[in-house]
Amino acid sequence: ETTWRMATKQPVDSSEGQVFQRFAELTEEYTDGELVIDVYPNEQLGQEDAVLEQLQANIIQIYAEGFSYMQKWEPALGWISAAFAFDDYDHWRRFMQTDLVTGWFDSAAEQSGVRPLGDPTRILRGPFRVMVSNVPVTSAEDVQGIKLRMHEDKTAIETWDQLGAEVLTLPWTDVYQGISKGLVQAVNSPIALVQAMRFNEVAPYIARHDEYWQSIGFMVNEQALNDLSDETRAGLMQAYEEAGDYSQEVMNEVAESSIADMEAQGVTYTVLDTEPFVENMRAYYEERAAQGDLPEGFLETVEETRAATN
């Protein structure tokens, strides 16, 4: 019998926390108790860099967070959640399954011994992104000059600058107060977190813009994975697949009921036409590519997967 430690940032009773719990239960079931997973929620074992170092050292075996944290080993992985580069979720999924992206993960694994457990898009996060604002946002036009909260990320800041927003940086936990005191007018957030952060109390306009697509990466220590018997590994993968289904179910359900709930409280919910954003960002990406800032083959692969047949 083997015990794996799995670190997460989320509280146990959050919707993501429920997915992790289900994954742990399914694993125990499908491996006949051969593999037990202990979940450590709430950054108990540290923040990203610290946890990734523990993952490398095989002190913990799984870290469930965004794959973009792996960019410290393979910088190209910083671009898998490029804003407004993809037409829709399926486009992004096709992109994530290309040899190009697989190659990036391989490169990170070579340096760190850490790799995705399975299909990197399997566990849904978000499930989609919205802009929450205290002024109506119904079109790309409305974003012009809006005071938008952003985290300290150069590319994210440049993106929204390019799209015409007036970007201010603010810690995530200060956003509620920042909006209520007029410091900022809007914030981008996964829909699932809007109510948890109570943004709707101070910003009654929610616009779905699908800024980028996200999954929760199950980053595993390769050595730990190899040490499992074939049977146990098969059970683990089955649990991963089913946890993926469960995440789709939970996330979409949470999003729907949360939107309905907020609308009942007077929130205005709209779905933006993001075509202008995608168009606008195309110029930006081409410029960055010309400067050599983008990973080789990135734009080409985005284009190739855009038109792919299903």
């Binding site: 509280p11 540290g46 610290a50 810690p171 936990t173 509620y176 410091l183």
Partner: protein
């Protein structure tokens, strides 16, 4: 494991080992005795995690404001005024000490800032007026517990995140308990002054009060300015600390009492106090990692909670448990480990999450005033230049009013929930 940790730590402290080295030795020995003896790279890694905490950047600036007020004579102006107001009461400056902590609480989110910044001022003034230094230091550390209850509060921000409650709701919930802690300490001081002699002085005339008010006016409005700026949302807690420091510098220039020498002395003292606190926190975060990965709190919780299904009995066990943890683990890591562990249990007993948040906040806060890890005790012994063991003894009776408030608030949840329910509406009207 717990025996190695606490045994080593206490033994080394008593053997005159500097506290940063003592807590480091205890932490590393515990690692060596655990399943993680071959993972010692965690210690420096978690030390970095410990000091890489955004909410703690407020610490140096609230220390700095206090040091600058000392360096510029502003302290004396404040105390001249406060003293002219209530100094004639029995144990007047002790009452001033508690009251000023309640006011300071509106500025500071951290108890260490109260002990280190305001504490330096209070202890100095009380010593000069003839109070025993250990009593002065003890009432300072006891009253510093008020700081992180009355908003703003770093600890309540962290709890709000962990328990998915709104920050506003948690802040409002802390207000009345914070005022109650202040009140209970003032009653304690008054009772004690009934059988013990404390320095006294004559009542100031109205003219004298007006004089000290004018003399200290610029200093007295500072808390209002700073509190106002936080409450209106213009600044974060750290920025409020910076504003306070800059305001003190300007006051020093205005009063022509700030020299380059005294300025740099204040900066140096601030840097050293901050470093002592942060190195202690750094090692305790490493310790917290080990406790978390060994699932010690969970085992402890399972063991404790296997006893009863009665909610009131459970609440009693809960506060004992929280106090014990608070004695040995710093508040931030303690919360990070305890809250997620206990929430399912407290939910099952039907305990309101806002109520639980205030219980755990006050319960862990009392730990700053208890040995062996009471960080408040170390700070006041440092800033007050009093022996650690003497403050520890002097603070023991003052824990009684703190426990009294904790017990009261544990069994009367409305003390925490009344105000937020009144202002924000009862919980549940907005689903989580």
């Amino acid at each position: 494991m717990a025996w190695i940790l606490f045994g080593t730590f206490i033994a080394l402290i008593l053997l005159r080992v500097p506290i940063s080295i003592a807590i480091g030795t205890a932490t590393i020995l515990t690692f060596l005795a655990s399943d993680f003896s071959n993972a010692l790279q965690i210690v420096p890694q978690q030390m970095l995690e410990g000091v890489n905490k955004a909410s703690l950047t407020a610490v140096p600036f609230f220390i700095m404001a206090g040091n600058l007020m000392n360096a510029t004579g502003v302290t004396e102006r404040i105390f001249a005024f406060a003293n002219s107001l209530v100094g004639h009461m029995k144990a007047g400056l002790a009452q001033v000490n508690v009251l000023s902590s309640m006011i300071f609480a509106g500025i500071s989110g951290a108890a260490v800032a109260d002990c280190a910044g305001l504490g330096a001022i209070e202890i100095k003034a009380m010593r000069e007026r003839g109070y025993k230094p250990d009593f002065a230091a003890a009432i300072t550390v006891a009253s510093s517990v008020i700081g992180p209850l009355i908003p703003p509060s770093i600890g309540l921000v962290i709890y709000a995140f962990l328990a998915q409650q709104s920050i506003e709701r948690m802040f409002l919930a802390g207000l009345i308990p914070g005022l109650l802690v202040g009140l209970s300490l003032m009653i304690y001081v008054r009772l004690r002054a009934g059988w013990e002699d404390f320095p006294t002085q004559e009542r100031a005339t109205a003219r004298e009060v007006a004089g000290t008010a004018r003399h200290g006016f610029l200093a007295l409005v500072a808390p209002g300015i700073i509190l106002g700026s936080i409450m209106l949302g213009f600044v974060t807690a750290t920025e409020a600390g910076v504003l306070a420091s800059l305001y003190c510098i300007m006051l020093g220039l205005w009063y022509r009492e700030l020299t380059w020498k005294s300025f740099f002395q204040a900066v140096s003292d601030t840097a050293m106090m901050t470093a002592v606190i942060m190195i202690i926190i750094a090692f305790s975060i490493a310790m917290g990692w080990l406790l978390a990965i060994e699932q010690v709190p969970q085992q402890l919780a399972d063991w404790t909670f296997s006893f009863t299904e009665n909610k009131n009995v459970f609440l009693g066990l809960l506060i004992v448990f929280v106090i014990l943890v608070g004695c040995v683990v710093e508040g931030v890591p303690a919360k990070l480990i305890l809250v997620p562990t206990l929430l399912p249990v407290t939910d099952a007993y039907g305990i309101d999450r806002v109520h639980f948040g205030i219980i755990i906040q006050l319960g862990l806060l009392i730990g700053i005033a208890t040995p062996p890890m009471g960080i408040g005790l170390y700070i006041v012994s440092e800033v007050g230049r009093v022996r650690f063991e003497k403050v520890t003894m002097a603070v023991l009776p003052m824990l009684v009013p703190l426990f009294a408030v904790l017990i009261l608030l544990t069994y009367v949840p409305q003390i925490a929930t009344f105000l937020p329910d009144l202002v924000l509406g009862p919980e549940g009207s907005t689903s989580q």
